[in-house]
């Protein structure tokens, strides 16, 4: 039995996990987006901000705006882009998404994404897609840590 104890202690010494914990969703509190959060391939711009932050157990909502930067002062100008807008939550490390997000148009180049839920903590992407029917015409990818 002493050998077993020594074996376990030896294993611990060389390979015990050394976890560094962070709180799920804590990074969301640091996110306040001004200007462009990401670009479409066309060069157009997307920005976003939380209305209600997602938690590990509840849905969130956020506002997405599409448009361009003002040439004079680089402030964001909302404008409609060609195609209808869809939002996909994607976990690039795992290679899978989350449950579908609902998108409604509020104003020119302004949309609300609701039922925003992250199935697990980690690195995510908010993929803002411009679609023609089922075909994705353009896409902007916003990285996010949940």
């Amino acid at each position: 039995m002493r050998t077993l104890v020594l074996f376990v202690l030896g294993l611990c010494t060389i390979s015990c996990a050394k976890p560094t914990y962070v709180s799920p969703g804590q990074d969301l509190n640091q996110q306040k987006v001004t200007g462009c959060a990401a670009h479409f391939k066309s060069g157009d711009c997307v920005t976003w901000n939380w209305e209600t932050k997602s938690t590990p157990t509840t849905f969130g909502t956020f506002i997405v705006k599409t448009g361009r930067l003002n040439k004079a002062d680089q402030s964001f100008l909302a404008q409609d882009l060609e195609g209808h807008l869809a939002v996909v939550l994607w976990m690039p490390g795992m290679g899978h998404g989350s449950s579908p997000v609902t998108v409604e148009k509020l104003d020119i180049g302004t949309y609300r994404a609701s039922r925003v839920f992250f199935t697990m903590a980690g690195d995510w992407e908010i993929r803002v897609q411009l679609k023609d029917g089922d075909e994705i015409k353009d896409e902007a990818v916003i990285p996010l840590i949940f």
């Binding site: 074996f7 015990c16 560094t20 490390g93 795992m94 998404g97 199935t119 980690g122 690195d123």
Partner: protein, 297 residues
């Protein structure tokens, strides 16, 4: 005593919780192997586990704030085809629960064949017994990429066809038994489609290696083992493209077993938070009760 401990030892090796879910649907399905002196064996295993933390590709841990449990009933059968050849099948039935919602169904099935390339018929003092095996994983459990329910509970496996080969080396030293195990496998690309997107998912190679030992006295055996798991990134092509990240985790197990004639019962605790530097995975803790019936040669 010698043959009895050999029989007990395989329980430890085949403990399914050691292979259990790292994320979502589960890890690679384990083969059913006869590592002792039997001509056939049947095993029923009940595993109940919960996810303790998610670990990102940055290696940071985030404790789960809600409860997600995975229960698995695993039925395994293996039979000798000749003195040195054997075949086996493993059928997992999986039930996942989270926040009052649940889904259940068949997980990934494993079919395997094995050959005893190093015999220990002469009870050599140091040369181990060696089993080489190959296995095929059937994607009968839904992949997480196909699951679009809120918690993705309908994902019950990795959902890929996979082929693998490995070796298991075992040795007795008095009251002690030891094993070392290595496996490499390749998961095959497949198309997927769900409410969000469609395309093709490309997994890659994976590897398992484990080692453990146990102490035997009378009808009892106590043991411990460490299993390390690695999976290549899963790349996605199609409407959404992503390269994926390496997944790795280690599972520590402690087990206690007792024989009752041709029957053996084992209680095992498995913990994926003890060892290693996990990345891009969920870490679970689980208890397993296993009952095995053996038919000796």
């Amino acid at each position: 005593m010698r043959s009895k401990t050999k029989l007990l030892f395989l329980l430890f090796f085949s403990t399914p919780s050691a292979w259990a879910a790292a994320c979502c649907g589960g890890g690679i399905s384990a083969p059913a192997l006869i590592a002792g002196q039997e001509k056939a064996q049947f095993t029923a295993t009940l595993t109940s586990g919960s996810i303790h933390a998610d670990v990102g590709r940055d290696g940071l841990w985030r404790a789960r704030q809600d409860s997600e449990t995975l229960n698995e009933m695993r039925l395994e059968a293996a039979h000798l085809l000749s003195d040195r050849w054997q075949a086996g099948i493993a059928l997992p039935l999986v039930r996942r629960e989270r926040e009052g919602q649940a889904a259940q169904g068949l997980g990934d099935i494993s079919l395997n064949g094995a050959y005893e390339y190093l015999t220990d018929w002469d009870y050599h003092p140091w040369r181990p017994k060696g089993l080489g095996y190959f296995h095929v994983t059937v994607p009968s459990g839904r992949a997480v990429q196909e699951s679009d329910d809120l918690y993705q509970l309908s994902a019950r496996g990795r959902g890929f066809w996979a082929i693998g080969a490995g070796t298991l080396l075992t040795k007795m030293f008095g009251h002690w038994d030891t094993f070392a195990h290595f496996e490499a496998h390749r998961s095959l690309a497949r198309d997927y489609s769900n409410a969000l997107s469609r395309g093709r998912i490309r997994p890659g190679l994976g590897a398992l290696y484990s080692a453990g030992l146990g102490y035997n006295w009378g009808e009892w055996r106590a043991g411990g083992a460490l299993l390390s798991t690695y999976e290549d990134p899963i790349a996605v092509e199609g409407e959404i493209r992503s390269n994926g990240s390496v997944q790795r985790y280690a599972t520590g197990t402690l087990s206690l077993a007792r024989t009752f004639g041709d029957w053996t019962a084992t209680l095992t605790y498995s913990d994926q938070t003890w060892f290693g530097s996990p990345a891009n995975t969920s870490l679970s803790r689980s208890w397993t009760v296993q009952v095995m019936h053996r038919w000796l040669r």
